[in-house]
C-alpha cells in the first residue's frame, strides 16, 4: 500500500509539469503584441513601461528559462500579480476558493445522493417502468446544459417565487443555514447533470456485477436478494464509481464557472470571467492552473480511496 501511494504521488509530477506547461503556453498565444494587448497602445509605445511589463511577465528571457522561472515562482505560491486588483493573484484565488469549493461539494453531494441510489434501483428493477423512467431522466439530465437548468431556476424563481432568493452568496460561517439554502439552487443545476451521468454509470456497473459468478453463488446459497445486493454486489460495484466520480470533478469545475455567472456567485468562475473582460491575464492563467491542479488532486484522492477499498489495486 505505501508503495502504491508513493507511485501515485510520483505520477503526479508529470501531471503538474504538463498542466503547468499548458497554462504557461496560454500567455504566448495572445495574438499581436502582448504589451499593447494588456496595457493599451500608449503604454506599449512607452519604452520604460514596455520593459517593465516584459520583465514582470518574464518575457525578456529565452522561453525554456521563462518556463522554469515561472514554475519556480508557482512552487513558492507566487502566481504573479493581478493587473486590476494590484495584489498577488494567489490572494484573490484563496479569497474566492471557499465559495467555489462549497458549490462543488454541494453539487457533488446532490449528484451522488441522486445518481447512486437511482442507478442501483434501475439495475435491480431492470426492464421495469422504474428502470425506464430513471434512464429517461438520466438521458435528459445528460443532454440538458447546466446553464439552461440554472437559467430556468432563476427565471421561474423570479416570476413565481419572488420571496425565495436564488441569486448571490451568503458566506457559510456567517450564516450556515442561509448560505446552504441560497447555494442549493446552483448546486441543483450543476448536480442534476453530474447525477445523471453517475446514474447511468452506476446502473451499468451494478448490472455487470450482478452477472458475476459469485453473485450467482450467493443467490444459490439461498441469501435474500437484499443481502446479495448489499453484502456482495454493491461492494464491488461501487469501486469503479469512486474512480469515475474523481474524473467528473473536472466536469464539475467547468460547470461551476458557468453557474457562478448565472447565479451571480463571487467565486473563482466569476473571477476568471471578469478577468477576461478586463484582460487581467495573470488572474486567468493563475486560476486555470490552480483549478486544474485541484482536479488532478481530487482524482488522486479518488484513486487512493479505491486502493484503500479494493485489495486488487495494491498488486498493480
Amino acid at each position: 500500500m505505501p508503495r502504491y501511494i508513493l507511485r501515485r504521488l510520483l505520477l503526479l509530477i508529470p501531471v503538474i509539469l504538463g498542466v503547468s506547461f499548458l497554462t504557461f503556453i496560454l500567455m504566448r498565444i495572445i495574438p499581436g503584441d502582448i504589451v499593447t494587448n494588456m496595457m493599451g497602445v500608449s503604454a506599449a509605445n512607452n519604452a520604460e513601461v514596455r520593459l517593465k511589463v516584459l520583465a514582470e511577465l518574464g518575457l525578456d528571457r529565452p522561453i525554456l528559462e521563462q518556463y522554469v522561472w515561472w514554475l519556480g515562482r508557482i512552487f513558492q505560491g507566487d502566481f504573479g500579480y493581478s493587473f486590476i486588483h494590484g495584489g498577488p493573484v494567489i490572494e484573490q484565488i484563496l479569497l474566492r476558493l471557499p465559495i467555489t469549493l462549497q458549490l462543488g461539494v454541494m453539487s457533488m453531494m446532490i449528484a451522488i445522493l441522486m445518481g447512486v441510489p437511482l442507478g442501483v434501483l434501475s439495475a435491480v428493477k431492470r426492464g421495469t417502468a422504474i428502470d425506464f423512467s430513471s434512464r429517461l431522466f438520466s438521458l435528459l439530465g445528460i443532454s440538458t446544459p447546466n446553464f439552461f437548468t440554472g437559467t430556468l431556476i432563476v427565471v421561474f424563481g423570479a416570476i413565481y417565487f419572488p420571496s425565495i432568493a436564488t441569486l448571490g452568496y451568503v458566506p457559510f460561517f456567517e450564516d450556515p443555514l442561509a448560505s446552504v439554502s441560497r447555494m442549493i439552487w446552483p448546486a441543483l443545476a450543476l448536480g442534476l447533470g453530474v447525477g445523471a451521468i453517475i446514474l447511468r454509470y452506476t446502473r451499468s456497473s451494478v448490472l455487470e456485477v450482478l452477472g458475476e459468478d459469485y453473485v450467482r453463488t450467493a443467490r444459490a446459497k439461498g441469501l435474500s436478494e437484499t443481502a446479495v445486493l448489499f453484502v456482495h454486489a454493491l461492494k464491488s460495484a461501487l469501486i469503479p464509481i469512486i474512480t469515475a466520480i474523481g474524473i467528473w470533478s473536472a466536469y464539475l469545475v467547468s460547470g461551476a464557472v458557468i453557474l457562478e455567472e448565472v447565479f451571480a456567485i463571487p467565486g473563482l468562475g466569476r473571477l476568471v470571467l471578469s478577468a477576461i473582460e478586463n484582460r487581467d491575464y495573470p488572474i486567468i492563467q493563475g486560476t486555470v492552473l490552480f483549478l486544474s491542479l485541484g482536479v488532478a488532486l481530487v482524482i488522486l484522492v479518488a484513486d487512493l480511496l479505491v486502493a484503500f477499498v479494493d485489495p486488487r489495486v495494491k498488486l498493480a
Binding site: L152, S254, I276, I299
Partner: protein, 291 residues
Amino acid sequence: MSAPAFDSPVAKSAGASFLRHVLRDPATLSGLLIASILVLVAIFAPYIAPYGANQQTGAMLATPSWEHPFGTNFQGRDLFSRVILGSRNSLSVAFPSVMLAVAIGLPIGLLVGYIGGRVDSFFLRIFDILFALPAILFAIALVAYLGPSLRNLILTIAILYIPRVAMVTRGPTLSVKTREFVLAATSFGSGSARILRKHILPNIMAPVLVESSLLLSEALLTEAALSFLGLGVQPPNPSWGVDLGKGRQFMELGAHQVIFPGLTIMIAVLGFNLLGDGLRDYFDPRIRKQR
C-alpha cells in the same frame, strides 16, 4: 473505461444493416431523425426563417403566437427565426471542430497503437494529463487569450477533443494489430502503411464513429456555453447560446426568451447523444445483450 473490442470485421452491407437496427430501436431512430432535421434546417435556414435574424418586427417581448412561434426578444427580433438561423452557427462550429479533431487524433491514435511499447506509454501519460483538464474552463481560457471568433472557437474545441479521438483509436488498434489477418498480411510482405490503411483502419472506424457522434453533442454544448458567456459567437449574430444568455436580461418579462433557445440546445444535444448510443449498441453486440 477501456474501449470495447470490436470483434467482427466490418460487414459489407453495413448501411443496410444499420438501417434495420435503427428501425427496431426507437431511441436511435429519434436520434437519427433529430440529427438529420437539424442538418436540413441549417442548410435551408434562410428559406425557413420567416424573418431576418436582426430584423425588427415591431413587437418587443411578444409572447409566442402564430406569427412569432417562439415570441420576440427585447429588441423585437423574432426568436423562431433566430433559432433557425442560429443552427448554422452552432453546426458550423460543431462539425468542423469534430472533423478537425478526428483528422488529427485518428492518425495519432493509429500510430501510437500500432507502434506500441514506449511510444504508447508516453502518449498514454500525456492523454491522462489532458483528460484531467476541466475542458470548458480551458476552452474559456483559450478563447480569452486567442480572442473570440468562429475560427478560434473551432480550433479550441478541436484541440480539446484530439486526445479523446486518439484514445478511442488507440485501444482497438492495439487489439486489431495482433489479429491473424494482420499477421497474414505482414507475412505476405505488406508494408506498415498498407497494413494500417487496408487492414487496421476499416476495423477501427466503428468506435471512432461512435465517439464522433458523442463529441458532436459535446461540441454543440461547448459552443453554446461559450456563446452564453459571451466568448463564442458574438451578438448580434444568432446563436442558441447567445440568445439564451441575452434572454436573461429581461427574463421577468417573459420566460419564452430563454425557454426556446435552451430547449433547442437540449434537443440537439439529445439527438447526437441518442445517435451515438445507438451506434455503439449496433457495433458492440455485447452491450446490446446487456440492456
